[in-house]
Amino acid sequence: MNENLMRTLRFTSIVNQYKDRIFTYSCYFLGNRHDAEDVSQEVLLKLWQHLDEIRIGSAKAWILITTRNLCIDFVRRRKRRGQHVTCSAAIDSESEPAGPAELSPLEMANASSLSEQIAKALLQLPETQRGVLIMREIQDLSYHDISNALKLPLNTVKVYILRGRMALREILAKSLKAELHDA
Amino acid sequence: MKVWKCFFVLTMVLVPLALFGQDDELEKAPGYIDLDQVFDFKKDTATTEIEIMNPLLSIVAEASEAEDPELAKLLSFLKFIKVYSFPTTPEQFDSIKERIDRADKKMLDRKWERFVRVKKSHELTNIYMKLAGKKVVGLTILAVDKDETVFVNIVGTIDMRSIGKLGQKFSIPKLDSVQTAH
């Protein structure tokens, strides 16, 4: 098999494996579907450019770091342009259904509107906590995976997740209080 | 189609580069030093001013092949020779020495290695080399004595042994006064 064909096969294999993960991360990080599409495209194009530099077995870490970095760059560019984010990355028809629930129907109904609020709340978190939480909660990566991928100490990852969850709880409580006040 | 476009663009780039690239190449050469920038020549009247670069150097090398193969070989690796000299009186020595000291700082700033500095009451000689690995790619001399001030810059892969030998051969005056090593 010639080199070009090998390269193409490797590229398409990695794309198929990670394209949805990249898009999911970008959606929840940026809170905007169109921006997430742009960033996802950029990540995949960079993957093509740098494919030869990525060692076998390191694609996952590379994808995670690159997606996170490009999302952060995007957010900073947005801030410089003075643009605001509106969350439009809530549950839509293209999402995969959530895993089996251990909650009652009432709790599940509450959860679906809650998920919209959570998606909004995520955008209020600092970028470092947001990224790590998305990887842990939505992409189901282990603490070790996140630590290795982002080259952060394990304890740092644990602290980010701990603080992120606490912050989400506080943000949600405040927004619920605001809703009750408006009602 | 893309391949032919690339071919066309490359050809269009190559033609001007081949014809006009040489001057830029000299200035970018590590062994080159613009003596006019390093030393203020405006007030001095030159007795000798020599500036030879390629392709003339290569042509001279070819022309010397038959009668002086060693000279031909030396020149074939050189890109540029500049020599500038003007007469000096003993009264002017101190001021020229100061100008050479200022030039010395600029040379050292440009990462030239000064491997000889000889200083006497009426003589100052600084000899600099620019190295690329073990090769000498530039030689610069700033020298003043009671009669003359001399500046030399030679660019290219320099065979120091040949320079010494040929320098002896062509030097003026003759070498009667040279003290040989013990």
């Binding site: 549950i91 619920l176 | 190559l14 022309a63 000279l71 000899i127 030679i154 320098g167």
Partner: protein, 181 residues
Amino acid sequence: MPDTLEKPCRGLSEQIMLYAFNELGFWRRRKLKSHLRRCADCSATYQDYRLLNAGIESLGKKRLPELTLQHVLLRTLGATATSKSVRPTPVVRKWGIAVAGVLLLLVAAAIWQTTEKWNHRQYSQAEIQNAKAEVQTALGMVGKVMNRTQATLANQAVTQNIARPVWQGLEMALKPLMHGG
């Protein structure tokens, strides 16, 4: 989730959160469960986190739109799912590149030859002889300075500043003078 946040018992906040997210070890979980049965504030905190977990789990993964993927593949592999353009086969393309490469080399060689001939034609014999004399004068001046330097160094009555790594170069240059060529 209540509109005000309950504060759990000191030291248990992290454990409650980990328990709600199914990340607490077996023995600590047992101990905490028994505490939660007795403590209203801790129990309420646990419920908050449990709901948060459920909400996050229901967020769901996203699928990259096909159009975005197509754009990427177009720009990388040059492939398209919809159009059926005819592309040259790999063998034909290889030969095309090889021929282009050879032609390029020929053009480069022709330019080089032309430049060389043009350069030679620029100078007359008199100019070349003059340049030769100038080269000899230049080298003579270098030799003169080196003679003087060697003589002075041999006297050893001077200030010297010699960089050791390149001293060999000077030695080589001055050796002919020292040993009479």
